[in-house]
Symmetry: C2
């Protein structure tokens, strides 16, 4: 079995803590390990380290090497951000060349997963399910009508001793009304971006659904282990159109697609508000959460990240997140924390990329 | 005529911009001049520079010298903070010795005054009024039932061509109910801490009302211009009990006390909220006011002081003041800005005086 960890993201949702030079997956969002390291540790009991392929943007090679130090994990770099389909394709090229056809688990590097043993057992079942072909996804059993996630609609159950369903559709982020209906009807799961398949199965689906991408991957495969690899990689990535695996393959594939319900706590860690809510156990009696040192007076439900050696005093504020870094500060209503990207976009427009 | 500018305050209400080492009167709260400099410029047309005595805490001598540079203004320092009665007494000791009995105007250094010509005309009238004795105060005509100010109750009008009244009482900060009554009844004025008298008149009132303070001032007077002055000053201040001129003299004096209505805009600049409100003309369409550079999205009625070379992003916040300095940050609901001292007190308790 092999694992592809997708750690190539360059998100903006955790500005100013996350930056282009240090995206979310390299940050310690919970406790003292980065999300990437948490992802590595979560899958470790299921796989040999040398069979784990971590894919990062080449700009983050040093950050990734720091985290992977002492681990026998493979590090693959992408010269350009091209979304998830090319990222998985890159991992598959290496796996097929070096390991041959074998089971592959694809994991995002920047999600939160609780109850790790349930997660691991779910992955084991998914691997068994796709041994004869097809693609399995893990669908998170929804606990609220979340409008920030994509959903997977489950169809007929499949006739194996694993609880799983054929997938009827992948659905984009729904309205609150639609999400509420999904929850009451049942049979809908959150799309957690976790995919399990045999390497050859997915490569054939890429060939069928994304022939141009496939062609570039084949071109790249010819250069594996050769001195021209880096040049070929850049050339291939320049030719590849960015597309997600969901859009590019999962919604079009003629392979069997299954969803296995995942009964473990999960979050895509999509905003400061989501982090604040997930850490509810750490909040004080007034619902405040402080990382570092800050003085709070008459504050409620406020999240202060104070790690910049500056003193922060807060008086009479409510429902805020205050994220302080040495060169940039965010003061944001928690319910607006999905708008943080607007700061980043504005900084880019102003030519202040060093702050993004 | 002489002027005593009381610039000895060590307030905490503008933390973190104001600090023990740089109180409000040395800050540029409006425009690009400090409040002390504004006070000096406001009185300049009425008085020779050499007849202006600025009293500061000795810790702020260098700051004051910087502001007074190029001016022929006298600088007096206090070794200890002892409130306004000793401060005025110190000025009087110098004035009586060097100038003899003559008119004196006492001005706080840290207030806001608009329509300077009306202010100047009011001072001129006050000087004329007390030429034969008595103490005149300028009472600001109230525009709202403010509970943060002391009030002066006016009694009978006096029979001079100046509009003025005998003072019936000095009243402490009232409740909202009482302040509202004051406003509807009329005849009450805000106590702006401005006093006008002849030097000998006030020194005699200090002798009568505060005999111990008077004794120390006489002791000090014997050392004026001598090598032992600094030692005598410290000794005298150590012996003096802190007391305000209002409490210590004005409420007990047997001299005639007059109030002259001041028809000019005035504020004691008592909180971040008051600064924000006074600068309403500078606010944008959403009521936001930004000093320096900050990115605001969907914010209302928010005051950002961004002068620390850090970028500040604000999203979806309302009614906040955000005061950013290199080593400390305040995020405060505007209506709680009178509680800023709690931060300072807490820092003192924690032994973090360098931040206060």
């Amino acid at each position: 079995m092999n694992v592809i960890i997708m750690a190539g993201g360059v998100g903006t949702r955790f500005w100013p803590l996350s930056r282009a030079r240090q995206p979310k997956q390299f940050l310690q969002m919970f406790g003292n390990r980065s999300l990437l390291e948490e992802t590595l540790m979560r899958i470790a009991p299921l796989v040999e380290e040398r069979d784990v392929f971590t894919v990062v943007h080449e700009a983050h090679r040093a950050l990734a090497e720091e985290i992977l130090r002492g681990r026998d994990v493979r590090l693959l770099t992408e010269p350009l951000a091209r979304s998830t389909a090319p990222c998985i394709g890159l991992g598959l090229v290496h796996i097929l060349e070096e390991r041959g056809d074998s089971p592959v688990v694809v994991l995002p590097a920047d999600h939160y997963i609780g109850e790790v043993e349930i997660f691991q057992e779910t992955i084991r079942r998914a691997i068994a399910l796709v041994d004869d072909g097809g693609v399995a996804t893990i669908g998170i059993v929804p606990t609220r009508p979340e409008t920030g996630y994509g959903y997977i609609q489950a169809g007929k159950p499949i006739s194996v001793p694993v609880k799983a369903f054929h997938v009827t559709a992948f659905v984009e982020k729904p309205s609150l009304e639609v999400a509420t209906r999904y929850l009451s009807e049942g049979g809908y799961y959150w799309n957690a971006g976790i995919f399990v398949f045999r390497a050859q199965t997915m490569m054939e689906e890429i060939k069928r659904c994304l022939p141009d991408t496939y062609e570039q991957l084949q071109y790249l495969r010819q250069h594996l282990g050769k001195s021209g690899y880096d040049t070929a990689l850049r050339k291939a990535y320049q030719a590849i159109t960015p597309i997600s695996i969901d859009y590019g393959v999962m919604e079009k594939t003629s392979a069997n697609v299954y969803v296995i319900p995942g009964q473990f706590p999960w979050s895509d860690v999509g905003s400061w508000q989501s982090v604040f809510e997930m850490r509810h156990g750490e909040r004080d009696d007034e619902g405040n959460l402080v990382d570092g040192d800050a003085l709070l007076f008459d504050c409620k439900n406020t999240f202060v990240h104070a790690r910049s050696a500056r003193l922060i005093g807060c008086i009479g504020v409510e429902d805020l997140c205050i994220i302080d870094t040495p060169d940039a500060l965010l003061v944001c209503h928690l319910e607006c924390s999905q708008d943080v990207r607007r700061c980043v976009e504005c900084l880019q427009e102003k030519g202040l990329e060093h702050l993004t």
